[in-house]
Every structure is written in C-alpha cells, then in structure tokens.
C-alpha cells in the first residue's frame, strides 16, 4: 500500500510541484496509459478520466504531512498547489525511492495546461477506437470545450512523443 503512496510523492517531487487537482489526475492517468506502474483505478467523470483512489491517496498524503496542499484563490476560481515536504522526501527515500523510469515525462507533462492534459487524457481513454472515432467521441463528451483540430493534432503528436 505505502509503495503506491511513495510513487505519488515521487512524481510530485520530480515534477517540482503540481498546480491543480485536475492536472494531477490527468498526468497520472497519461503516465499509467503509457505503461508507468501506477495502480490507481480510473473511470470516466466530468473532466474525463478520473481516479477516486488517487484523490483519496493525495488526501491521505496531505493528512500524513508528506504533501503540502496550498489553496490559491484566483478571484474567479480556486486551485490547489501540491508540493512535497521534507518529511515526504524522507518517506519516499525510506521506501526505496520508486523509480518512474523517465523523470523527463513528469516535467514535460507538468509544462502543459490543464486543458491540454484533459484533451490528451480523454483521447487516451478512447484509444481502443479508430482515430476518427476517437475524435468523434471526444467532441461528443467534451462538446462544450470546442477543441480545435490543431489542438487535437498536437495532443496526438504529444502521445506519440511520450510513447517513444
């Protein structure tokens, strides 16, 4: 059980902090889809793939004092920033510092916007479909977000890059 907690701490530490719950959800999902050993179970929710298990794990890590959650008020909305505490680093190291294979992935993902990650994660959720069906499904479940062709093409290119 704690190994799974340590992987999340390791990811947030490698990404040098994560801003936004949605972003964290989508990044872990994308990494899981490209074969990283995350165990969190995902289902399709309002913003696309979402893991209740991940939400619980992050809340637990905050309660344990291994992750610090900072609420940032952005006037029209609120977002949360997660950083790893010194105790969290000690915890991760005590559990044998789980390797996420490619630290560059964490940084690369963290550099993307929540909107782009939502798009990428949603396309990956439907990756058992033909590309044209994948795009049709994206528009059907995310119609309100009006993703452009250019954004979709960028997301497919990004998936290809991650899978290399």
């Amino acid at each position: 059980m704690l190994q799974e907690h340590a992987k999340i701490v390791d990811f947030i530490s490698t990404a040098e902090g994560v801003t936004g719950r949605k972003k964290l959800q989508k990044m872990i999902y994308i990494l899981k889809k490209i074969g990283m050993p995350f165990q969190e179970k995902y289902e399709f929710h309002i913003y696309g793939p979402y893991s209740e298990e991940l939400t619980a794990r992050v809340e637990e890590l905050c309660d344990m004092g291994f992750i610090h959650e900072q609420k940032e008020d952005k006037s029209s909305y609120v977002q949360y920033r997660y950083t790893v505490t010194d105790e969290g680093l000690e915890f991760r190291n005590a559990l044998g510092k789980p390797e996420l294979a490619d630290a560059a992935h964490a940084v690369k993902l963290n550099g993307k916007s929540a909107r782009f990650l939502e798009l990428t994660a949603t396309l990956l959720f439907f990756d058992d479909l033909e590309q044209s069906e994948q795009i049709a499904k994206l528009h059907s479940v995310k119609g309100k977000l009006n993703f452009t062709q250019a954004e979709i093409a960028e997301a497919f290119a990004f998936i290809g890059e991650l899978r290399q």
């Binding site: 059980m1 704690l2 907690h5 936004g20 719950r21 949605k22 959800q25 165990q39 179970k41 289902e43 399709f44 929710h45 309002i46 913003y47 979402y50 209740e52 939400t55 619980a56 809340e59 637990e60 309660d63 344990m64 004092g65 291994f66 029209s76 909305y77 609120v78 977002q79 949360y80 915890f91 005590a94 559990l95 929540a114 959720f125 439907f126 499904k137 059907s140 479940v141």
Partner: protein, 434 residues
C-alpha cells in the same frame, strides 16, 4: 414486430427478497438473463469475502444485477413514463445497461484485479462488444446497440440522465446493493425508504433530481450508505480474508514465474500468470474454480502457499492492529526486518491495508471536483444542492474517513521459536500507533 419491441407472451417474474418480484416482459431482457455470461454471475458473490464475517452474505452478483434492472424498470415504466423531460426511446438501452452493469466482475474481483492488474470494467466492455452470447443478443437490436450499452455503463453516453440512473451519488446500483447487502448480512443498517425516493425522482435537464419533499428519505439513504460502508464493507476481519486471498494469488503467480512445479497444474491461471489471457480465459473463472484451487493447494509443497490457503479455506485469518502510516512507516520498516530475522516472510505475513470512504460530496463552483451532487427540485422550479438544505448531509459532506490496519499471523509470534525476536515484534506491535 422488431426484436427491440418484442414482448414475451406472458410476463415472467423472479421472486426476490428485496423487491418481492423482478418483472420481465421484454424478450431482449429475458434472452440476456439466459445468456451464459450473465448466468456466470450466479457463481460470483456480491460481497466477496464478507461471508466469512456475515455468514448470510452468500448472495450473488446475479441477484444484484436483477435488482438494479428492476429499480430502473420501475423508474422508467412507472415514474418517468410520459414525462416530457424523459426520452422514452432510451428505455431499452437503460434497462440493458442496468442488467449488465456488473457483467465483467470476476471471482473475488477486488483481490484478483489487484494481483493481475486487470479491470472488470474493461471486461464488461469486452463482453458487450466481443464474441459472446450477450453481444449476439444485443446486436439483434441493432449493430450499434452493444456499443451504446457499453457507453452507458462506461459513463460516456451522450444522454446524462441515462448515465445518472446507473451511476451517480443516488443511483439504482447503490439503492439495490445497500438494501440487498443489509438483507443478506442481517444487519439493521442499510434500510431506507426507496419507494419514497423513487416517487420523487424527476428527469430534469441533463440529470435526475429529487423533489425537495423527498429530502428526508435521501438523508436516510446517505446515512444508510455511511453505516453500511463502515459496518459491513470495510469490516476489518473481512479485509483480513481479502488480504490473505490477495497473497495466495500473489504467491501462486510468484511460484509460477520462478519455475516452481505445482503438483496440480494451475491450468486456469496460467494465462494470467504470464499476462497472455483472453476474454475466454477470464470467463472460465468463477469463485468455484478459485476455491477448488485453494483446496488443491492445501497440500502443495510450498509452505507459504499451502499455509495461506489453509488460512483462507479454514478461516484462520490474520490478526490486525491500527496503524498510522504517517507516524509509523519507520516502525513498519523495523517490523519488516524483524519478521525476516524471525523467519516469517514479511511479503506474505506483514501487510498494511487501508480503506477510505467519502459518504457524499458536492461540486464547489470554481474547484475541480468531479462528483456530481444530488440536486433537489424546489416547488418554484429552482434546483438546490442537497447539503445546502440538509444539515445532516452537510455534516458529512466532503469528509473522507480513512482506516489503516496492519495484518499479521498472531499465532506465529507466540509459537515459542525465536522467542527474543518475536518478543521485540510483539512489543513494537503493542506500542502506541502500531
């Protein structure tokens, strides 16, 4: 008449302890119930290992699936029928989705999925859309119909009212399992006034809402859910059995990968051990098959596998203590080393386990929450989120409760061997926190 609208010559009924009767008139539903993949659900218990604590809890996913179907059928045919906000053409797809929503569950799903890294929802989708009896029945409705049913179950269907009936914070799935599990476990929690809730459910825009006059019935439902999770679903002894079950499968997989020669070849598991399984392999498993292997493995040469099977089959479960990982993870490290020195493999005999639940949550504007709240329909037509009006629900909204336990075989620590080390283990376990 086309297959989608074909009715049985006479209504069929199943006697049911929760809903009294399950009513079937549609030929499609009758055919699906008789499909081999649906009949398989008779051989999978709804509550996994809970029967080792609540001996009545032997009911199957088959009866639960029928129950969810019956609730959705009543909502469709009695409550939503002829309401302009409800699209009547969705009737068959939502009935099929209700009946088939758990189709991909395997034997002791929770443990099995963890060890073999599979997801029952993927199997549900595969059964609906692959080469199966269920698929051939659904395809007779239309070529696109299996996909539509899969989308409802996968929550990606365009009509969100349809999805909400099967999967939301107040859905037919939960309403059935709370009552059914309460009935079969014999506990007094889990009961609520479902009749009242059904009468006040309304289709509204892209969701299903509850008339505000039914708020107290919904409060009762949420409290029932809260009680059932902590008194039944997260029972620490049932979790002990679950931990042992997981370790049996993990050990068998480990042995297979390390050249161990089983006295009884684990034929049914081989494709899962080397990750080459197909849907056919998965459907060949049920709890009878797993229990047979556990019986056979009682006499295996590997002492860990045979011991774990003995513990599960004969209910010699692990003991447990409360554990606070935030404070005690270092002690867990010490305990792991001490177990090794005592000759007890900590990988199989010292297991930390956590479980948590969020009884109800609501969407906070501007935050990135993912749970659709329960909305009440006010007499003036306004919509209000439940916890804004209900103090009881407000009291537990958004409050997650987590429970951590450390499981271990108590009798191995007092068997007189390596006494000194085991004494240190017992002292650490007795210390505050652990």
């Amino acid at each position: 008449m086309d297959y989608a609208n074909q009715k049985l010559a006479e209504e069929k009924v199943f006697k049911d302890p929760v809903h009294r009767y399950i009513h079937v008139r549609d030929q499609v539903i009758w055919d699906l119930i008789n499909a081999r993949e649906f009949q398989r659900l008779r051989r999978i218990k709804q509550l996994g290992t809970s029967y080792l604590v609540f001996h009545g809890a032997e009911h199957s996913r088959f009866s639960h699936s029928l129950g969810v179907y019956e609730i959705v059928r009543r909502i469709n045919d009695d409550i939503f029928h002829e309401r302009p906000e409800w699209d009547e053409s969705e009737r068959l797809v939502v009935l099929c989705a209700a009946l088939l929503h758990d189709l991909g569950h395997g034997p002791f799903s929770h443990s099995f999925e963890k060890v073999f890294n599979v997801d029952h929802e993927d199997f549900t989708r595969e059964i609906l859309q692959g080469d199966t009896e269920v698929n051939s029945i659904l395809k007779k409705v239309s070529a696109e119909f299996p996909k539509k049913v899969a989308e409802v179950i996968g929550k990606t269907y365009a009509n969100k009212q349809v999805v909400s009936l099967i999967s939301s914070q107040i859905d037919a799935d939960r309403m059935d399992y709370l009552q059914r599990d309460a009935y079969y476990t014999g506990v007094s929690y889990g009961h609520f006034d479902m009749e009242r809730i059904l009468r006040v459910m309304r289709p509204f825009e892209d969701q299903v809402v509850i008339k505000s006059s039914g708020m107290h019935a919904v409060e009762d439902y949420i409290m029932s859910r809260y009680q059932m999770y902590w008194q039944v679903y997260f029972h620490p002894v049932a979790r002990s059995a679950e931990v042992i079950l997981r370790k049996i499968l993990q050990r068998a997989k480990y042995l297979s990968g390390h050249g161990y020669k089983f006295e009884q070849p684990p034929t049914h598991f081989l494709a899962f051990f080397d990750n080459s399984f197909t849907l056919k392999d998965y459907l060949a498993l049920d709890e009878g098959v797993l229990m047979t292997y556990f019986q056979l493995w009682l006499t295996e040469r590997d002492p860990i596998l045979s011991d774990l099977c003995d513990r599960f089959v004969n209910r010699r479960l692990f003991q447990y203590v409360d554990f606070d990982p935030g404070k005690d993870y270092k002690k867990l490290g010490e305990l792991t080393q001490l177990f090794e020195r005592a000759g007890i493999d900590p990988e199989y005999y010292l297991i930390d386990d956590s479980t948590s639940d969020l009884p109800y949550d609501f969407y906070r504007p501007g935050e990135e929450e993912e749970r659709l709240p329960i909305h009440l329909l006010m007499p003036n037509g306004d919509i209000k989120e439940l916890s804004r009006l209900s103090q009881i629900v407000d009291g537990i909204s958004g409050k997650r409760r987590t429970d951590y336990k450390l499981y271990f075989p108590a009798e191995l620590l007092i068997d007189g061997q390596k006494k000194e080390i085991k004494q240190q283990i017992l002292e650490l376990l007795r210390e505050g926190g652990v």
